[in-house]
């Protein structure tokens, strides 16, 4: 087990190194960052000064090494625009993104799992067909489109047309509560109101996947002998579905949810833009559009790290849920 973890970590380190080189080379090829910082008619002397300050006069490989050294110290330089350290900015905004991603995970599981299991148990019921069609819509419609539609309907049309219908906020994050130094907004009612639309938007894609996966697995599991045996023992249908079938479904669902969580955090970029949610995604977009390199670089490094950790956690989780895997690995 330890060997396995060490090997995974080394793989991860390799990926990070490759990524850092790619990122470095790529980012530092976009135009001249100096021109972003100062007005176009600054004197050559001023430009030189700025260039020196940003180490842009050194050869590429030296710049890279400085970059890596800084990175390992968590120093990605200061954001060109905000003036504060890039890393700090990212950490500040990360909780908002994680909150959004978690909420959407919860929604997609809470809605997707029951619907998928139902569609698997009664594949020919009209409800099931509707659920499956809905799932196709769920993963085909682009994220931002769904967000726009939700805004249109719930923040503009319905409140306009129906008096008394609550107007859901279309942008920003609600009131936050400080928990262990981290600001969380889902603990306040206002925060929840603001979370609702973006979280639903973000949950649609994954929810659709979960519905389809749950249905497919349910249909695979139901004809199995152990389900028949459970019936032969006289167990109630509720127990059979709720325990025997569900436990088997949870394994692939957990794996997919875990892997997809990374995708969700990535897709949050779009949702955050639509809803002006102050998370790391919006920060990334803004930084890209404004060529704020330190922030982009910091984001990439952190995201890659996040993915690697996530994959590791998912693997461990899988072994917890499926006893066959756990015991085998212990034997080896």
């Amino acid at each position: 087990m330890i060997v396995y973890i060490v090997r995974r970590l080394m793989q991860a380190a390799l990926v990070m190194v490759v990524m850092s080189i790619l990122v470095f080379v790529g980012i530092y090829l976009i135009g001249d960052p100096v021109l972003m910082m100062i007005s176009p008619d600054a004197s050559e002397l001023e430009r030189e000064a700025v260039r020196k300050a940003l180490h842009l006069d050194l050869p590429m490989w030296q710049q890279y090494l400085l970059f890596v050294n800084d990175a390992l110290h968590g120093n990605f330089g200061k954001s060109f625009l905000a003036g504060q350290p890039a890393m700090g900015l990212i950490f500040e905004r990360f909780p908002a993104t994680l909150e959004l991603a978690f909420m959407s995970l919860v929604i997609s599981l809470a809605l997707g799992l029951p619907m998928g299991v139902y569609a698997g148990l009664r594949p020919h019921a009209p409800g099931s067909k509707a659920i499956m069609t809905g799932s196709i819509l769920g993963f085909s419609l682009p994220n931002f489109w769904v967000g726009l539609m939700l805004i249109m309907v719930f923040a503009v049309m319905l409140p306009d047309l129906i008096p008394g219908w609550p107007r859901l906020p279309a942008s920003g994050r609600g009131a936050t509560v400080d928990v262990l130094g981290v600001k969380l907004s889902f603990l306040t009612l206002d925060g929840l109101r603001h979370l609702l639309l973006p979280a639903i938007t973000l949950s649609l894609y994954k929810g659709a996947l979960i519905v389809r996966l749950a249905r497919a697995t349910a249909r695979e599991v139901l004809p199995m002998d152990y389900v028949k045996f459970a019936r032969a023992k006289g167990l109630s249908e509720r127990r059979i579905v709720g325990v025997h079938v569900l436990k088997n479904i949870m394994i692939p669902i957990a794996t997919v949810s875990g892997l997809e969580f990374g995708q969700t955090v990535a897709f949050a970029v779009v949702t955050e833009t639509v809803f002006s949610w102050p998370g790391v995604g919006k920060l990334l977009i803004d930084s890209i559009l404004l060529l704020d390199r330190p922030v982009v670089v910091a984001y990439l490094v952190i995201i890659v790290f996040f993915f690697v950790v996530l994959n590791l956690v998912v693997d461990l989780l899988y072994s917890v849920l499926d006893p066959r895997v756990r015991l085998e690995s212990r034997a080896t």
Partner: protein, 304 residues
């Protein structure tokens, strides 16, 4: 239930495969509906210049007084009816949507075809060569696939800048890995079949074996993947354009149009975002509805 006698012997279907595929496909009403949507979108895209009331990119046509006109209103000089309204620059929405659909579909199709070509070559080579080449190529594929497409595309476009060609490059780069993996998977299955052995015994050159013999048998699953990827490519391009890193403002795709209308959403001029959104949804959903059923129909188990 282990009574083997309950497995009836089914006679092999004698119809020509293509006709059977088509007839199986048509059994599902939703899939046919999806196909209709797709055809509609393609029609609109191809004939955009002919069926648009106005060329929305010719500034001479625009009369700023008509800007943000609601759907159904008539232009100031009475010549055109803005069926779907106008946007902030007085462009007729319907025309803009037709042209936008053209661009969206163009980018989608081209990027998928290119990614397909590249991915298939890589996948088939990997499957046929085996060993270290295979492992190396697949490692690259795995790394590419483990990153979310949108992030890769975003970073790429931030480096390359705006422009349709750059968007194409980004989309191709993000998609080829899917095809590579699918092609390799299908090819591995084929590789073990006897006809490959036979062809090898006949001393046919490898490229011929791979492309003339193995490839046609991989086609069904590749077609399915291409369909799904096409929908994703269109959605991805729309997302990138919406975020402002995709196509340039001068040649808006549907995503860009939606983005333009975003600011007007809350102030009531919803049509500027809404109708392009509907058009986009029609294209994507159509492809997915048809593609989903296509997958069931083309399932290799059903074909043999």
């Amino acid at each position: 239930m282990t009574d083997a006698a309950l497995e009836p012997v089914v006679a092999a279907k004698p119809q020509a495969p293509l006709r059977r595929v088509v007839s199986d496909f048509c059994e599902n009403r939703l899939a046919v509906f999806g196909l209709v949507l797709v055809v509609l979108s393609i029609f609109v895209a191809v004939f955009a210049p002919l069926i648009s009331p106005q060329n929305p990119f010719d500034i001479a046509n625009l009369d700023l007084l008509d800007a943000k006109a609601p759907p159904g209103s008539v232009s100031g000089d009475g010549k055109i009816t803005y069926w779907l309204g106008t946007d902030g620059q007085a462009r007729d929405m319907m025309s803009a949507i037709f042209y936008g659909m053209r661009l969206s579909l163009f980018v989608g199709f081209v990027s998928v075809l290119a990614a397909l070509a590249i991915g298939v070559v890589v996948g088939l080579v990997a499957a046929y060569a085996g060993g270290r080449t295979d492992a190396f190529l697949m490692r690259i594929v795995d790394i590419m696939l483990s990153f979310p497409a949108i992030l890769v595309a975003l970073i790429l476009l931030s480096v390359l800048g705006k422009g349709i060609d750059k968007v194409l490059i980004a989309l191709i780069l993000v998609q080829w890995a899917y095809f590579a993996r699918a092609a390799r998977g299908a090819a591995l299955v084929e590789r073990n079949k006897e006809y490959v052995e036979a062809a090898t015994c006949l001393a046919l050159p490898p490229w011929r074996i791979v492309f003339r013999h193995m490839l046609p048998n991989c086609m069904p699953s590749l077609i399915v993947i291409a369909t799904i990827t096409l929908a994703r490519a269109i959605a991805l391009e729309a997302t990138l354009s919406f975020l402002g890193v995709g196509v340039p403002v001068t040649q808006p795709s549907l995503g860009m149009l939606i983005s333009n209308g975003f600011e007007f959403l809350l102030s009531g001029s919803y049509w500027i975002s809404f109708f392009p959104g509907v058009a986009l949804a029609i294209a994507i959903v159509g492809i997915n509805l048809a593609g989903d059923h296509l997958r069931d129909v083309l399932n290799p188990r059903n074909l043999r």
